[in-house]
Symmetry: C2
Subunit: 310 residues, 2 copies
Amino acid sequence: MTEDRFFQELFARLPRPPGGVVVPPGDDCAAVTVPEGRLLLFAVDQVVGGRHYVAHGPADTPPRLVGRKVLARNLSDVAAMGGTPTYCVVSAALPPQRSEGWLNEVLDGVVALAAEYGVHMIGGDLSAAPHDEVVSLAILGEVEAARVCRRGGARAGDLLLATGRFGDSFPSGHHLSFVPRLREGQWLAGSGAVTAMIDVSDGLLLDASRLARASGQAVALHPERVPLRTPQTSLAAALHDGEDYELLAAVRRDRAEALLAGWPFGDVPLTALGEFVPGREPGVYDGRGARLDTRGQAGYDHLQGREANP
Amino acid sequence: MTEDRFFQELFARLPRPPGGVVVPPGDDCAAVTVPEGRLLLFAVDQVVGGRHYVAHGPADTPPRLVGRKVLARNLSDVAAMGGTPTYCVVSAALPPQRSEGWLNEVLDGVVALAAEYGVHMIGGDLSAAPHDEVVSLAILGEVEAARVCRRGGARAGDLLLATGRFGDSFPSGHHLSFVPRLREGQWLAGSGAVTAMIDVSDGLLLDASRLARASGQAVALHPERVPLRTPQTSLAAALHDGEDYELLAAVRRDRAEALLAGWPFGDVPLTALGEFVPGREPGVYDGRGARLDTRGQAGYDHLQGREANP
């Protein structure tokens, strides 16, 4: 099977792309229209066998979940901007022992999740690799310019809200099954009350720290308020584990009560974890003003190479 | 060094992004504007150590050339659509033996070539990998909707033109130093005489076959007309080797003479290799009507895993 044939067969079984796809897959680039007045969002994220999923042995991650994960990670990034995902392209580098059937299942996992969110896969590239398997996905999305949420807008007095629950993503399997918070991100961005937003992919405290530092603010985060993923989840896991894929939003204090009361997603908790406070160095503090360590165990740093431990 | 710090330092030394970058790197996605009435082009391509470049030993490819190559491959795809590249994002998965300095040089290679073409790198993702090194780049570009060139528009009677020379890309080092044919692609697209275009990345005959089949046409390609890369290059290498990164264009016969006469790029040959002919099965034939085999030795099929042999 050649790369051409592989993609021909893949794209033939995909849903017909919408009218905005002027040049569908099969040319050197796909070409799409972008509605006037919308910003185009652009990001990339990858999964690596043995790091983001189990790539061998009896616990080998089902390939559909590998594909699901690489798209879901990207969808979480679009969610954090308040955006709507639109198109993606996928590159895969695979070792000799991975069959075409395995790759087809990976891409079926991408496409099945894509269909749930109206995303279309419109390009790809395949290569052999000597040993490892690496699947990289680049995503496009759109957002109204006036609605886009960034990391750097939080101000002293804002509250820090979080969707969902935290910790134990690997042992619970959450890292393979999580639902990206797109509707929540769009709803929050649409409220006009959010001053900054980020997705929690590398640990709650580390990502809270990124939000606070990008905003030049200190945030007091009350650890006892953090929702734990399971009754067995430790507070340390909730604060430091990676791959929660929840949203952290800074919200204007005068709008927070109404926002919490109007939250329409009963299956996903929305929790006030703390508040941005004046007069301190940017960073994350506990409720008594002690600085919390966001490094060390904190966060899943991909470059440091901490092994995924599913 | 964390991934955050790595990208902060990288983006700090990049040229300031243009006004169209509304959200620069550092958020969950970058956000850009797209001019009204332009199509957005989107593609992905990757390089894998040991396949697209030498990844160990005394012939280890300089990392700047690795980065240059992954961007140049993508630029060639944008060129084939007649487009102008605008933005890119890069993901890299690296084994323990590759240092941060090595990665910085790879990205310096991306950024230096990007600057030549007004392309801005606006996002990235890093991961550790157990053994291999994989660098994937997704590119955006723009093109006037009326000018976009596709593979499928050639008609019987059109001529087949090619830029540049063919064969021996690996032994000559062309695969690391080639100049993507952006100005040539834009000029050809702007002429209004091109009915179809493709870049030659996987072998002249294989890519000619893709153009012909996408157009539902037969093309007679005269092998003796193919410009050879060097005096030592064999015809077989010119017809079948991969990684030429030249353009093949189908051109209206009544416009071809003026196009060849007006070709403004004296350092790059433009050659009429043949013509599209009626009444045959789609594919590639020689001047006497014998079908040419575009498979087998033909083409650099990444999924089949033919080893790069620099």
